[in-house]
Every structure is written in structure tokens, then in C-alpha cells.
């Protein structure tokens, strides 16, 4: 089960300056299989993502933060040994 609630992911999305559709495109590029509607449901907290799906979303956000000069601020769910 994901540690982070969807609304936390959505706060990161807003901080990253990404629209829902832009985040979905990045998520899809990284192998995400959920639809745009499903992703929005996750971000609104209406749908609980799998650990894998959570991490794909987190990584899509983190790659955006790296572009902006950050260093992977969004925690991952399934990798306990993640080093950021």
C-alpha cells in the first residue's frame, strides 16, 4: 500500500508546475499503465495506487524536480534502500 496519500502527490505535482495531462504524459513515458482518469483519481485520493504505480508517479515528479534543480524530493514507496 502506498505510504503517501494521493493529495500529497498532487501537492508535489503543483510544486513541480505540472498540469494533470503533462504529469500523465511523463508517467506514461516511464511505463505507467493507468489512464488519465485513473491518474487523476489517484491524485485526488479517490484511488489507491499500487506501490509500483506510486513509484512511477513519484519518479515522473522527481525527474521534473531534477530538471528544476532539485534532488528527488518525492519519496518512493517500494524501495526501502532508495538513495536520493
Amino acid at each position: 500500500m502506498a505510504e503517501l496519500a494521493g493529495d500529497v502527490l498532487d501537492r508535489f505535482r503543483r510544486s513541480a508546475g505540472l498540469s494533470h495531462s503533462e504529469l500523465w504524459l511523463r508517467y506514461f513515458e516511464l511505463g505507467g499503465m493507468s489512464s488519465t482518469v485513473e491518474l487523476q483519481a489517484i491524485l485526488y485520493g479517490a484511488l489507491l495506487p499500487t506501490a509500483h504505480d506510486h513509484d512511477v508517479i513519484a519518479h515522473a515528479l522527481n525527474e521534473r524536480f531534477v530538471e528544476l534543480g532539485g534532488n528527488h524530493p518525492v519519496p518512493y514507496d517500494s524501495d526501502e534502500h532508495e538513495t536520493a
Binding site: 495531462s21 504524459l25 506514461f28 513515458e29 511505463g31 489512464s35 509500483h52 512511477v56 519518479h59 534502500h81
Partner: protein, 356 residues
């Protein structure tokens, strides 16, 4: 297994994942020796298949092709069809199963995959601004600026599209020529307003000392005063509302305030739409995303085979490498694929079990 008009048909039942894919591979190997001109893998009764199954089929398809035979996949589920599209394997699916892209705005079919995920089509449709409608609205804005701002003889809206300033609306040819003169010289109030995000007012070009290359051209066209107000998209300057007058000193401080206010009102949704992705840009982005995703699927397949892990674990390996290196995940995927055999000329994935 049975023979029909299409060739030797292998019916697949149940679930195919990384545990059962070798069983499917063995069944396909036995078909290779039958030397049939065509082999069909019927997935009508297959309840689930992940990328390991498709990788297996693609590998055997490649071997069959080397022997002059063909392999097609019949009746895949929507998920398998979507996976095949992502992995660049749609050519394996029987033609009647392939749904063509339905985006009228895109006319570049040369690089168009045979089938694309519905979600991508939806994205493409939603991200393409309706240029005709938006530009018509901006022409109204230019006309309004000319009529509302005292002393104005013409007006235009310049926007940066694909990194280049372009006039998207103009009230007359002189205004178009004025804008073009500024783009050509890289000088003038329009260019500066678009670049710096602040207003520029050339009170009288008779005495103007800025923009030495552009101002003589403007005088030739009979223009003597210019008022350029910046336009913003998503907080960044992206163009200018330009108002031109034939008389020096034509614009009062009230006119400046009015022009600025008009520009501020246009900035936002309308300018956002006008500077958004065009059909071609959205299509290029879309093709890039599909290509990157296909490369990622290939890299995951390499890791699944090399490390004996499932797809999610393979993705996790790539993600951890990305975090540790600070490089995008796709870079790691590309180097993973690059470390193995290159893609076969037939266009299928280059991840196959060694020939036995």
C-alpha cells in the same frame, strides 16, 4: 494446434507471464519445425499476457521470419494490443485488429505507428489548440486595440511560436511590415517587450535613438509612434500587443494604461491557447514519448532475462540507477538496451532466448 486458411494456428489459454512464457516459447519452437508459411497465435482464450509473453512471441516471430515464414497474433485483448503498440510490435497483430489513429489535425503519416493507445489520442486531442479560433479571437483583439486606443492607426499581436516571434493578428499590411522589420533586425519595441516582459513606448521615431537598424525602416513605412505591451503565457513573456501611429506623440499616458490593461486581459487563457502545442508539435512529442516507452520496455525485457526478475522489479532497477546517477530513467534504459544486441532489421524487439 490446428490448421486453418491463415496457416497453423496455436491457441493460447489461461495466463502468460514470466513464469509461463517459456512454455509458450517451447510450443512455438515446435511450430518452427513444421515449416508452415504462416503461423497464427490465437489469444482469444488467453486471459492475461504481460510483456514477457509478447517478448517471447516477438523472438519466435523473428526466427520464423529468418526461415521465410510469418507469425501473426490473433484476437489479442485490449491490454495486449496496447502493450504491443507500446513495444512497437503492432505489425504482429492481424490487420483487422489494428485500429488506425483518428486525429484529423495530423497530416504527417510518415512516422505514424499503425496503432496507438487511446489515452495518447485523447491527450493529443486535448493538447492541440484550435489555432483558427484562437487566431480569430486575437484578430478581434488587434482591431479592438486600434479602435480603443486614441491616436492608433493599426495594431498587431506578436507571439513566440516554436521559439520564433510571429505576427498572429494584424489590422493591415503596414502593421505586418512593421512587425516583420523588427523580427528581421532583432530590434524594436515589439521584440524588446516580448523578450523583457515590460512595455516600450517610442514617442516619436523622428527623434528615437534606440533600435538604429529598425527605426529607418519604420519611418519609410510612415509610422512615427509605437506602443508595445508585453503578453505573458504561464508567467513568462511570450509576445507583445503592438499599436502603431502615423503621428508622433500620438499616445497619451491614458493610451499607455489602456494598452497595458488590454494586454494584461489577453494574457492568460487566450495567449496560453495561442502559444500551446500545435498539432505538429503535439504529434512530435507524442511520437517521442512512444519511442521512449518502447525503449524502456525493451530495457525491462533485457533486465528480466538477465536478472531473472519480473517487470516491476526490472523497472525498479532502472529507477534506482536513475536516482543514483541523477540521469533520466530513459538514459539508463537506452544504455541497458545498447549493452545487448541491436534491434533486428525486422523491427521486433532484440530480446530473444539464445538459439538452441
Amino acid at each position: 494446434m490446428e490448421l486453418d486458411g491463415a496457416g497453423l494456428v496455436l491457441g493460447v489459454q489461461g495466463e502468460v507471464d514470466y513464469l509461463t512464457a517459456p512454455e509458450l516459447g517451447a510450443a512455438l519452437d515446435s511450430l518452427i519445425d513444421h515449416r508452415q508459411p504462416s503461423v497464427v497465435v490465437d489469444l482469444a482464450r488467453c486471459e492475461f499476457m504481460d510483456s514477457s509473453g509478447l517478448h517471447m512471441i516477438a523472438g519466435r516471430a523473428s526466427r520464423l521470419r529468418e526461415r521465410g515464414s510469418t507469425l501473426t497474433v490473433r484476437s489479442p485483448s485490449a491490454t495486449v494490443r496496447r502493450l504491443a503498440a507500446i513495444m512497437g510490435l503492432v505489425e504482429m497483430i492481424e490487420q483487422e485488429q489494428v485500429r488506425p489513429l483518428e486525429v484529423d489535425a495530423v497530416d504527417d503519416s510518415s512516422s505514424m505507428p499503425a496503432a496507438v493507445p487511446e489515452e495518447m489520442v485523447r491527450y493529443l486531442r486535448s493538447s492541440i489548440s484550435s489555432d483558427g479560433v484562437v487566431d480569430a479571437a486575437l484578430r478581434l483583439v488587434a482591431g479592438l486595440a486600434r479602435d480603443a486606443v486614441g491616436g492608433a492607426d493599426g495594431a498587431s499581436v506578436s507571439l513566440r511560436r516554436s521559439g520564433v516571434l510571429t505576427t498572429v493578428a494584424a489590422t493591415d499590411q503596414t502593421v505586418l511590415d512593421m512587425d516583420a522589420g523588427q523580427y528581421a533586425t532583432g530590434q524594436g519595441p515589439c521584440v524588446d517587450a516580448a523578450n523583457e516582459g515590460r512595455g516600450f513606448h517610442a514617442t516619436s521615431l523622428d527623434t528615437e535613438v534606440r533600435w538604429s537598424d529598425f527605426v529607418p525602416r519604420a519611418r519609410t513605412l510612415g509610422i512615427r509612434a509605437i506602443l508595445s505591451s508585453p503578453l505573458f503565457s504561464r508567467g513568462q513573456p511570450c509576445g507583445a500587443l503592438n499599436i502603431y501611429a502615423r503621428h508622433p506623440g500620438a499616445f497619451t499616458s491614458r493610451d499607455q494604461a489602456l494598452a497595458w490593461k488590454l494586454a494584461a486581459q489577453v494574457s492568460g487563457d487566450l495567449v496560453d491557447m495561442a502559444t500551446g502545442d500545435t498539432a505538429q508539435q503535439a504529434w512530435s512529442r507524442f511520437v517521442g514519448v512512444l519511442t521512449a516507452r518502447e525503449a524502456l520496455a525493451r530495457a525491462e525485457g533485457v533486465l528480466m532475462e538477465r536478472e531473472g526478475v519480473d517487470q516491476n522489479a526490472a523497472h525498479g532497477i532502472l529507477r534506482r540507477r536513475s536516482v543514483q546517477s541523477g540521469m533520466p530513467l530513459q538514459h539508463g534504459a537506452a544504455s541497458t538496451v545498447g549493452s545487448t544486441q541491436p534491434r533486428s532489421p525486422g523491427g521486433t524487439v532484440g530480446v530473444e532466448a539464445p538459439d538452441g
